[in-house]
Symmetry: C2
Subunit: 275 residues, 2 copies
């Protein structure tokens, strides 16, 4: 999927919502636990109930790996289900990978080829040769951590390096890497006031924005400072949507929550775009 196609999907659906799939057996509706693959059944129901309101899904690999081989099978089934039934969907493997070059090549192969995700999240700490193997895949997208939504973001990401915070240096340096046009960035919604500065460095890049919903970030603030003329935002919500209920009505309640966000997005989009 190209960024132009993603932009078109956003205008078509009047939504830049991405639903995070963080399936946790201790939180999903108990009646699903009797099925053969509760994690997949949960994801499938959430996807079926929300796909017209969202432009993307972001399975978080940790929530599959925690269940070992069974979990990896659920992940494979989930991405296959999306690709087969909703090929217009932008898919994100939220995996936070990154290693020396030959190892990153294997991770890229895992997520872009074997599982056929459109994108994967990566960590920047190991630098250029840990990220470029991902960037080598054309029409696949590498979403690098810049400024995250958690408290620990202030441990290192905002440290001052010659008058500039580390996350800004990460953004600037990454622009010099080969195939940097395939980069997107993670910027937490809990830090909306930082978007102005970030847009000075990466005006055209798509930003994946976690942290609205359960983590407390504001959608309107994020859009005010972070939106560009291609929208340029994918706002993720996981817990607030997928765990809106843990009864038999969970999918319906998830849809209600997703609809609220989509409607807020439609209103925001209508002020700047022909939607």
């Amino acid at each position: 999927m190209t960024t132009q196609q993603l932009h078109e999907q956003i205008l078509l659906k009047k939504s830049f919502l991405c639903v995070g799939l963080d399936p946790d057996l201790t939180k999903i509706p108990p009646h699903l636990l009797e099925t053969e693959d509760p994690i997949f059944e949960f994801n499938k129901a959430i996807i079926d109930a929300t796909h017209d309101l969202t432009v993307g899904y972001k399975p978080n690999t940790a929530f599959f790996e925690a269940y070992g081989i069974k979990g990896w099978i659920s992940l494979q089934k989930t991405i296959n289900y999306i690709n087969e039934n909703f090929p217009e969907m932008f898919t994100i493997a939220d995996a936070k990978r990154g290693d020396i070059g030959n190892t990153s090549s294997m991770y890229a192969k895992a997520f872009f080829e074997d599982l056929n995700f459109d994108s994967v999240t990566v960590a920047p700490y190991m630098g250029k040769d840990s990220v470029e193997p991902f960037l080598a895949f054309e029409n696949k997208h590498t979403i690098m951590l810049a400024l995250t939504s958690n408290e620990g973001a202030f441990d290192f990401q905002t440290l001052n390096i010659n008058g500039k915070e580390l996350y800004k240096q990460v953004l600037e340096t990454s622009k010099t890497w080969k195939n940097s046009h395939n980069l997107m960035y993670v910027v937490g919604a809990t830090k909306a006031e930082y978007f102005t500065e970030i847009r000075k460095i990466v005006p055209d890049s798509f930003l994946l924005v976690p942290g609205i919903g359960a983590q407390g970030g504001s959608l309107s603030e994020v859009c005010k400072y972070g939106m560009n003329d291609k929208v340029g935002l994918l706002v993720n919500s996981a817990r607030a949507i997928i765990y809106a209920s843990n009864g038999t009505d969970f999918a319906e309640k998830a849809r209600e929550e997703a609809l609220k966000v989509q409607q807020e997005m439609e209103e925001i989009l209508s002020l700047r775009f022909q939607v």
Copy 2:
């Protein structure tokens, strides 16, 4: 496994070698490709041929994930094989994970509980709450990236923060985290001259040292500057050992290479310890 037990194993085996298991179907001996699970067969043969010369094995998760569900099955079989047959072995899931708190908890569960590794490598970029969920597991070890062996290490890790390089700040800050006694650190062998400074910050911690062998680091230099009075080093070698031959003699040749390293280690240890 406790660090004291690891120290004892090192003196007993006269080795602080860890063998990296990076199974790549394009590199392993062609005759293994006819078996049902070539990756596991390869790992098993390497382990059988080297276990008396090493104190640890470090499967690199990327090389399993690249093969999808089959790869995850091979990973499960590999760690089970080690735990069942060589319970004295220190096992490292080289996974470079790290995410917001509830996600890191799931990764910790995946590697410490489901797969039952002794340790896992993590990335520091997301700070305290991305690492502490791993540290909460007693007698499990969290090996955090400090200064890596690759070229990209100079992109961010060595940037100057108020007169101090980022990797030093990472080391110092991590010491303030809850259960920081469960931390170890990755420090690349290709940067032996940095060990003196690192030992000033973390004198007692075990350091996992990649980069000898294929990446060109010197064992004697690493030991000169990095060894402490508990040895405090686990030196990893992967490609130079596991791909010493791709003929039917691959395990034998792997043993020869491991033996060379072990003998060099024995000589170094004999100068400082009763081995």
